[in-house]
């Protein structure tokens, strides 16, 4: 009972993470660290072609290899259900996605067969021995080409390659365009990206036939969704299926999905009646874990001469890939929701076309639809400013929703919770000394230097979300268990994998109960240990999961007080600082004494039960809407076309901050991925559907010397949606970064007549632009 009553609030403190000791000593357990007696290893044979009919498949040479137990092919899994897509749109065409290809392959990496062997080397060797006779077909890898007449059909039954169309409209768009002083138009792409979590996906499946019990250890962000969906696809009893997300080495959205391999390993373990492990190679992970973005956007903005934006039109062509993964078709609809950004206009029209291509599915990657929308609107505002010869900051300030207008209903059907949009922009401008920079830029240009400044003022939809607005329920759960000793175990339905909620949730708990941080542990990621939960994505963990915890703690405090009343034999008691005190006599009992009494149960208070446990499922009434302003100063090397970021200022408003150390980390990591999209990263498929950025050698993930120093700061506008006042911060950096960087580079080249550049801003692209405007 070493608990010390905590003297002050822990919220808002820079507390180092409680998950770190196991991670810095190499003692954490990731999926590939799990070893079971009698465990087999699986390797998957994948298609080298983007589109082909399978004439024949001969597994005999693999079976003949010493150490191979068995091989499964599409015929074995034919009667299982489809790899799940959880998103629904009117008229959506959902192709049946077999666990293993049957008679045709649809993208490079499409799984054809699973080899099960005693060792991973033998499994891989044997997979290469399988003989496949392909009849190679024409493929299409570009979404615009896929929609053009005469394109090869990805799915023969749908020759137009269109999975869905989606339309949303608000206000009087045609009138606004007819009356506009100025109209600007631009095609803007948001290229395909590879999420590239450091840990590749992997699964260990363990089947206990006598209990009809299956345990899946899988690198996922949403273990309960995996449980529900694997059970559905294989017809299993979900109460006998345990899914564990052990230590998970990053996800960034790519591990929300339930994948073919998770279902396959469950299938294999049940067939061989032995544990089985599959760990994806990096190349498999690039080919067969979802990609992000993949937009071609056509924007039109109508405005008045004074800079007021009066209407926005947007056509999105979304590259879906060959199959629909868990949320694939929903992602571009999030872009539509976010298309007005932070601006007041109520006149919007959006049309989305979802195009099938012979590629891996796109789905939620850090930001998921919102970076695309923010990139688009923030580029368009700069293009409008250039057209009107106004300062980009002035155009933004003119169009921001005013502070007194919150809660603000948008034309896309959202209600922005709270905001002070000018505040982060002004703060960022002060930090870079914006006025002075413009003078410096003018001098630099006379000297022939290419110096630019760019900004983005972004908003995002976070804390997913009200259940009717989400594909799988948007609530979250939390359970607080006080042990007889007074130690506390928090079980949460979210599934953190780097975001630090073992720390922040302990802070919330210790604060509410008035106990020490070290008296609390937070467990997550095991469906047998925690109540049903939705998982970690969409910057929801603290705003929704933390709020569920907050309400569970309020219920628990009500119970504590009842026990306090009984123990102190007084109705007039106060619960504070880890004690329950009688206001008249001054007598008090500690939290630990109450805990012990609740389990000893000598005298159970009226209306209470023995024990001290509270469980709360919280349904959020709205999303939250973080915002911020990023300003970037870039310098371009004329001779090489290389972009150097000289300053990066990020002012984010994520509502109340529970742990500034963790929030800074989230911002830095988010910005790094946004800069990565702006400058370097691109998943490139060639015309045959080959992923030619299929390894880290070819896909440019930022290394330490490539990253600038990020000067981060905050404004704090609490969210009224939850009692913690938090908004979410996981995706903010990514959403704010790419338009700020591109706007900065376009600004550096604007005097050469450059108006827009599509990402990534590779040296080759920039060098060509500079050369074309050469001599100026």
């Amino acid at each position: 009972m070493a608990t010390i009553t905590k003297p002050e609030t822990l919220l808002g403190k820079r507390i180092r993470r409680r998950e770190d000791p196991r991670l810095i000593t190499g003692t954490a357990t990731y999926v590939d660290d799990i070893k079971m007696p009698g465990m087999y290893y699986a390797a998957i044979l994948r298609s080298p072609h983007a589109a082909a009919n399978i004439r024949s498949l001969n597994v005999q040479p693999a079976l003949a290899r010493k150490g191979v137990l068995t091989v499964f092919t599409g015929k074995d899994t034919e009667h299982a259900g489809s790899v799940p897509c959880g998103a629904a749109l009117p008229g959506l065409r959902v192709p049946h996605h077999h666990l293993l290809a049957l008679d045709r392959v649809y993208f490079v990496g499409h799984p054809l067969a699973v080899v099960v062997a005693t060792d991973r080397y033998i499994a891989r060797d044997a997979a290469e021995l399988i003989e496949v006779d392909y009849d190679v077909l024409s493929a299409v890898a570009d979404p615009e080409k896929a929609l053009a007449a005469g394109a090869p059909a990805v799915h023969p039954q749908w020759p137009d390659n269109t999975a869905f169309t989606f339309h949303q409209e608000g206000g009087e768009v045609d009138k606004a365009f007819a009356e506009a002083d100025v109209i600007v138009k631009q095609r803007i792409t948001s290229q395909r990206l590879i999420p590239m979590a450091m840990e590749t996906r992997g699964v260990v499946a363990d089947w206990r036939a006598a209990e009809r019990a299956l345990t899946l250890y899988t690198s996922t962000q949403a273990p309960h969704l995996v449980r529900t969906l694997v059970a559905q696809v294989l017809g299993l009893e979900d109460n006998r299926l345990r899914v564990v997300a052990p230590e998970v080495g990053g996800g960034f959205g790519s591990k929300i999905d339930t994948y073919a391999e998770e279902i396959l390993m469950a299938f294999v373990a049940m067939k061989i009646r032995k544990p089985v492990k599959w760990i994806g190679s990096r190349r498999e992970d690039f080919l067969c874990t979802i990609h992000g973005r993949g937009h071609v956007d056509y924007y039109e903005l109508a405005a008045r001469r004074d800079g007021e934006i009066t209407a926005i039109k947007l056509k999105i062509i979304q590259d879906l890939g060959a199959f629909l993964s868990l949320l694939t078709p929903a992602i571009p609809t999030l872009s539509v929701l976010m298309m007005p950004g932070l601006y007041r206009t109520k006149n919007i029209r959006a049309d989305v076309v979802g195009a099938f291509t012979n590629c891996m599915a796109t789905d939620a990657y850090r930001g998921a639809g919102r970076p695309e929308a923010t990139h688009g609107i923030e580029r368009m505002v700069d293009i409008l400013a250039a057209e009107l010869k106004m300062d980009p900051a002035e155009v933004r300030l003119k169009n921001f929703i005013h502070n007194e207008e919150f809660p603000f209903p948008t034309a896309t059907g959202l209600v922005y919770d709270s905001g002070d949009y000018a505040a982060p922009l002004r703060k960022a401008m002060d930090m870079v000394d914006y006025g002075k920079f413009r003078q410096e830029q003018a001098r630099a240009r006379q000297e022939g230097k290419l110096l630019g400044i760019g900004m983005s003022t972004y908003g995002e939809i976070c804390a997913f979300g009200p259940s009717p607005a989400t594909p799988a329920g948007g609530w979250e759960s939390s359970q607080v268990k006080v042990e007889p000793s007074g130690k506390v175990t928090v079980a949460t339905g979210i599934s953190p994998h780097g975001q630090g909620e073992e720390t922040t949730f302990a802070q919330i708990t210790a604060d509410e109960l008035g106990i020490g941080l070290d008296d609390v542990i937070v467990v997550h990621g095991d469906t047998s240990l925690v109540p049903y939960g939705i998982g970690t994505f969409g910057s929801r963990s603290t705003a929704v999961g933390g709020t569920a915890l907050y309400f569970a703690l309020q219920e628990l405090k009500t119970k504590l007080k009842k026990w306090g009343v009984t123990l102190l034999e007084s109705e007039d008691v106060t619960l504070a600082d880890g004690r329950c005190t009688c206001n008249k006599s001054g007598k008090s009992v500690s939290f630990q004494e109450i805990a012990f009494a609740a389990y000893r149960a000598m005298k159970v208070p009226a209306g209470a039960e023995p024990g001290l446990v509270s469980t709360y499922f919280w349904e959020p009434p709205n999303f939250t809407f973080p915002f911020g302003a990023h300003i970037v100063v870039t310098e371009i090397d004329r001779d090489t076309g290389e972009v150097f970021i000289r300053r990066y200022v990020a002012i984010d408003d994520c509502g109340k901050i529970l742990n500034p150390l963790i929030v800074d980390g989230q911002v830095h990591g988010g910005v790094a991925q946004g800069i990565g999209q702006a400058l370097w990263e691109q998943a490139v498929y060639d015309d045959n559907g080959q992923l030619i950025t299929g390894e880290l050698m070819d896909y440019a993930v930022a290394k330490a010397p490539m990253m600038p120093w990020i000067e981060s700061g905050h404004t704090v506008t609490p969210s009224p949606v939850n009692p913690l006042g938090v908004k979410g911060v996981g995706e903010a950096g990514t959403i704010g970064a790419s338009p700020a960087v591109v706007n900065s580079v376009v600004d550096a080249l604007s005097h050469l007549g450059v108006r827009h550049i599509d990402m990534p801003l590779t040296p080759e692209k920039i060098w060509n632009l500079v050369s074309a405007g050469g001599g100026k």
Partner: protein, 139 residues
């Protein structure tokens, strides 16, 4: 021992040291970095037999007598990790920076961890951690 057995698989599967991780199998990500005779090496592109007779230190061997190595402590204090997957390799590579140069500049730190990818932190807190470890060591 199978001649083609990779050092990382030997460490993880045979010896049971699962601290170093496999992130790419091509020497590009650095998650498998271990110390071999005092040099940080990527154990995913080295055969176990090549390490015959060498002195190997993995992340598990850094803490001594229950006390964290200064670099581990610094990564913890400065939030130099999020998901933790790159961390064992990153800490070994960071330790090597200070072994060679007790007081590195920011640029030298970034160069020193160029062979180790972190997808979570944007590297800034890692740079802070290496600086803090240098300071703690008296630089």
């Amino acid at each position: 021992m199978e001649p083609r057995l990779l050092l990382i698989h030997y460490l993880r599967e045979v010896v049971g040291l699962t601290g170093p991780h496999i992130g790419c199998e091509t020497s590009l990500c650095g998650a498998c970095t271990v110390e071999l005779d005092g040099q940080a090496v990527k154990s995913c592109t080295m055969f176990a037999v090549q390490a015959d007779g060498a002195k190997l230190v993995t992340i598990e061997g850094l803490a001594a007598d229950g006390k964290l190595h200064k670099m581990q402590e610094a990564f913890w204090n400065e939030h130099g990790l999020q998901c933790g997957f790159c961390t064992p390799g990153m800490i070994i590579a960071s330790k090597q920076i200070l072994d060679r140069n007790p007081n590195p500049t920011e640029e030298e730190i970034r160069h020193g961890i160029e062979g180790n990818i972190c997808r979570c932190t944007g590297y800034q807190h890692i740079v802070n951690a290496v600086r803090a470890a240098a300071k703690a060591a008296g630089a």
